[in-house]
Amino acid sequence: MAEQPNQNDIHPTERIKKDRAAIVEVMMELQAKRGFLDDQDVIEAARRTGLSPTEVEELASFYTLIYRRPVGRRVLLVCDSVCCAMNGSERLLNTLERRLGIALGEVSRDGAVTVLPSICLGLCDRAPAALLNGEALGPLDDARLDALLLELKRSR
């Protein structure tokens, strides 16, 4: 991490004029350390961008790819927006919860995986779709789901 000047030495106006647009990269960078942002990280992101901690929290808690709690080594984002909902995302999510033995947002006991619902992933043509650490999956019919679960189990 670069040396940060003492907060008191930067004048507020200059601080505010610093590039607020860098916030997503700053959050991503901080998240890379442990896989999620804790409260201190939110404060640190605020300090680096000139946003307030509340403004950072607004973004951190909105973006699906920023986590405010510990997550598994792999994160499975399952779309539950319109197309996927019509193509069975609810059943998909229920099945995942049951077969992995975790509720949405929880970390599996071995730390391997977390399942989260997501808004449209832009994979509507492959509904019901999901994203596993950035890798597009879908349509997740029964066969593909079995394969996915097998893979998740193997990688444990």
Binding site: N8, H11, P12, I16, S52, T54, E57, I119
Partner: protein
């Protein structure tokens, strides 16, 4: 014709209006949640559904959102159409799935928009039997209570707090069905305008925490139109009382002043009226007496003193008390002043004359300025003017702030100019010079003044706002000259020191304060009558008053709050607080406004004016009629009634303003004292328990560079020495303080006897 039809009623509209805005302006109700006049349309709640009739025969009627649909001539709209009714009913039913069934225990009940809308549009009973979403509430500090379960996600709160008031510590977090409106972590809301959330939120998520501590149902409250007594803006308010105690203050719309909002000082400052140390009992030399005995004792002292009497009025006292006390004292042959500090008197008098001569904008008009210079810490003195500047800034105005301590407006400013107190008028003169001689641009542009000068010069509607208390007469004049040099389009406004400072200035004669103070100091006065002022607690002159009153035979004090002067009184006559009586204030625009009596206490206290009238009548001075005293002061003015928008005084006299001379007296130390104030700092609101619990700690604050040069460490304690004595304070280092300046709170300044811009000695303590 620019009108359209709503259910067979013609509704006029302005270009750019949407259906909802035009309807509400015309007094036609369309149910809505997320639309708000100050915040505009969002289209989020879907409650404003109305049906638009087809314009072509082959078209079908459409249900549209009234807040998103532009008003057009000839449009035929129906609020009552069954399709629109069904849509609204569906919206309410959905909102109520998560809303708790807690109206009976909810503070909002009886004035809840959601309650009204549900009764007006909703289904008669609930079909949903599932679980409700619940949240954990936050502690948002002593002023605003949080109950997130009641949220209907209209986003009014964050749109108000972030976009309108430019606050950064309240936001909308998370997503989906769990959107949460709050702070990152528990803690007091930081905005000086946070209390407006209570009125902006259409449900009971944000409620008045002070009111909650002594709650009454809205239909049980006694209310009457009032005027805020906490600063010179004169915002219109609606205080509510119950069973002889004041419970809360709400906003009351004034089209040219506060409109929808109040500052937190105006909303929560009223708690001073319930302060345990408020003087309730008359006292004569330490003995508790009843009113007539106190009056008798006062009469006796006045008679004995003969012409050796003096009276001190106050910028926080109403017009009639000031006018009547002046009459009484002058007819008695004595001296009267409406101020306690000659410097504040001169500064106020000059400001009032410049306003009188050059005019001044309404609060609403300030929002249309395209370049603004604020000289002084405006937020701390006239908070709602700050909110006006924020609107102008949102409308793309360039804002420059000249300040000496941390200032909320400066953090938003385009030109943030930090200067030691005495440098301010120098900078104003320099700006004027730059504008007068356009060439003089580049010769060493200190502090970005040249850019600011250019911005002001090129603006269509430049606005200059000065804080009178810290500018002093010299700075007030420098600001007015700067406005004059910008030509006719420049607007000039001053934040005056008190709700009736304008009134005090027109009652007061030039130099009267100095005369009264000197007369008391030299023993020429035997009896001094003070109403609603605290001369002994003044920053600059308090120590002189404290010494001088020792020479009096008697000090007669009338007030509704405790103060150094109240404690020193020989005869104390407690008086009614503003909501317990009626009266007139003249605001910063020269607007005479009337406030009504809101309630009566079990044991009512007399208004100051009634006490003065009793004295005048008993002394047979023929001065006893308040209305006559005001009529003499404001000839030809038909005084407004409470609830009316007030009457702006037109310039009566074209006074030539003699340029004030800057005084450099009292230069004993190296450090210039700068007043460290905050938005709750006011002689009345200081006694408001919840609000004053937010007051910043008492420290001596200096800039990091200055600390380095003076070799002062962060955790040091320093000893300050002034004419009235010395005081140890913890040191605080803050980059927002100007160099060579030590920022002190009012109470510390009073103890050591220096005013803003005065000098002190400061040394590190071992």
């Amino acid at each position: 014709m620019t009108a359209f039809e709503i259910d067979a009623r013609q509704v006029p509209f302005n270009n750019g209006d949407n259906i909802l805005k035009a309807a509400l302006n015309a007094g036609v109700e369309i149910p809505h949640f997320c639309y708000h006049h100050a915040l505009g349309s969002l289209g989020a709640c879907r409650l404003c559904a109305v049906e638009v009739k087809p314009e072509q025969p082959e078209q079908r009627p459409r249900v549209v959102m009234a807040c998103m649909e532009p008003a057009r001539a000839g449009l035929k709209v129906s609020v009552a159409a069954p399709a629109a009714l069904r849509a609204r009913q569906g919206v309410i039913e959905f909102l109520m799935t998560n809303h708790p069934h807690d109206c009976p225990v909810c503070d909002e009940g009886g004035e809840c928009h959601l309650q009204d809308m549900t009764v007006a549009c909703g289904p008669p009973y609930r079909r949903y039997r599932g679980r409700k979403r619940t949240f954990i509430n936050q502690d948002l500090g002593p002023l605003v209570h949080h109950e997130m379960n009641r949220c209907i996600t209209c986003y009014r709160c964050t749109r108000y707090y972030q976009q309108y008031a430019l606050g950064t510590d309240l936001g909308a977090m998370r997503l989906r069905n769990e959107v949460y409106f709050g702070r990152f972590q528990d803690g007091p809301l930081e905005s000086p305008f946070a209390g407006n959330l209570v009125e902006v939120c259409p449900t009971g998520v944000f409620t008045d925490k002070v009111f909650r501590s002594r709650f009454a149902r809205v239909w049980d409250l006694d209310t009457a139109p009032s005027i805020c007594p906490h600063c010179s803006v004169g915002c219109n308010t609606l205080p509510g009382a119950r069973l002889g105690t004041l419970r809360r203050v709400r906003n009351r719309d004034h089209a040219e002043l506060n409109r929808w909002f109040l500052c937190d000082r105006g909303r929560f400052g009223h708690q001073y009226t319930e302060h345990p140390e408020r003087p309730w009992q008359a006292r004569v030399r330490g003995q508790t007496v009843n009113y007539s005995d106190a009056l008798g004792a006062a009469l006796d002292q006045l008679q004995r003193a003969g012409a050796a009497v003096a009276g001190v009025g106050s910028p926080r006292e109403d017009l009639e008390s000031n006018a009547l006390l002046q009459r009484l004292i002058i007819r008695h042959g004595g001296f009267f002043a409406a101020f306690t500090d000659p410097g504040i008197e001169a500064a106020t008098a000059h400001a009032v004359r410049y306003i009188n001569r050059m005019g001044t904008p309404t609060l609403a008009a300030m929002e249309h300025a395209d370049a603004i210079l604020v000289a002084g810490e405006l937020t701390a003195v006239a908070p709602m003017m700050d909110l006006g500047v924020r609107q102008a800034s949102r409308n793309k105005a360039k804002v420059g702030v000249i300040h000496h301590v941390a200032d909320p407006l400066a953090t938003l400013a385009d030109y943030d100019i930090r200067l030691a107190p005495r440098q301010t008028s120098v900078a104003l003169k320099r700006l004027q010079g730059m504008i007068a001689t356009t060439a003089e641009q580049s010769s060493g542009d200190e502090h970005g003044l040249a850019q600011l000068a250019a911005t002001l010069m090129h603006a269509q509607h430049p606005l200059l706002i000065g804080v009178v208390e810290t500018l002093g007469a010299y700075g007030v004049a420098a600001l007015a000259k700067l406005a004059q040099s910008l030509g006719g389009q420049a607007a000039l406004a001053y934040a005056l020191p008190g709700p009736n400072a304008y009134g005090a200035a027109i009652v007061n004669e030039d130099g009267a304060t100095q005369k009264v103070l000197e007369a008391v100091e030299t023993g020429k006065v035997r009896c001094l009558v003070v109403t609603a002022a605290d001369p002994l607690g003044d920053t600059r002159t308090g120590w002189r008053w404290r010494e001088a009153v020792g020479r009096l035979d008697s000090l007669i004090v009338m007030d509704c709050v405790d103060s150094a002067t109240v404690r020193a009184a020989d005869i104390l006559i407690p008086t009614a607080a503003w909501a317990e009586r009626s009266g007139y204030f003249i605001n910063y625009e020269g607007r005479v406004q009337c406030f009504d009596r809101v309630f009566e206490r079990d044991k009512p206290l007399p208004a100051s004016v009634a006490v003065i009238a009793d004295l005048a009548n008993a002394l047979d001075l023929g001065a006893g009629e308040p209305r006559v005293a005001i009529a003499d002061l404001l000839p030809g003015i038909a005084l407004p009634l409470a609830g009316e928008p007030g009457i702006r005084l037109t310039p009566r006299v074209r006074l030539d303003v003699p340029p004030p001379i800057e005084s450099v007296a009292g230069a004993t130390g190296h450090w210039q004292v700068g007043l460290a104030s905050w938005y709750g700092d006011d002689p009345l609101a200081d006694h408001a328990a919840a609000l004053s619990s937010l007051a910043p700690a008492s420290t001596a604050t200096i800039a990091p560079d200055t600390a380095r040069i003076a070799e002062l460490a962060t955790d040091a304690r320093v000893m300050l020495r002034g004419p009235a004595g010395s005081l140890p304070l913890p040191l605080c280092i803050d980059a927002n303080v100007a160099e060579d300046t030590v920022a002190l709170p009012r109470s510390a300044m009073c103890q050591i006897g220096v005013g803003h811009g005065g000098y002190v000695e400061l040394e590190a303590m071992p």
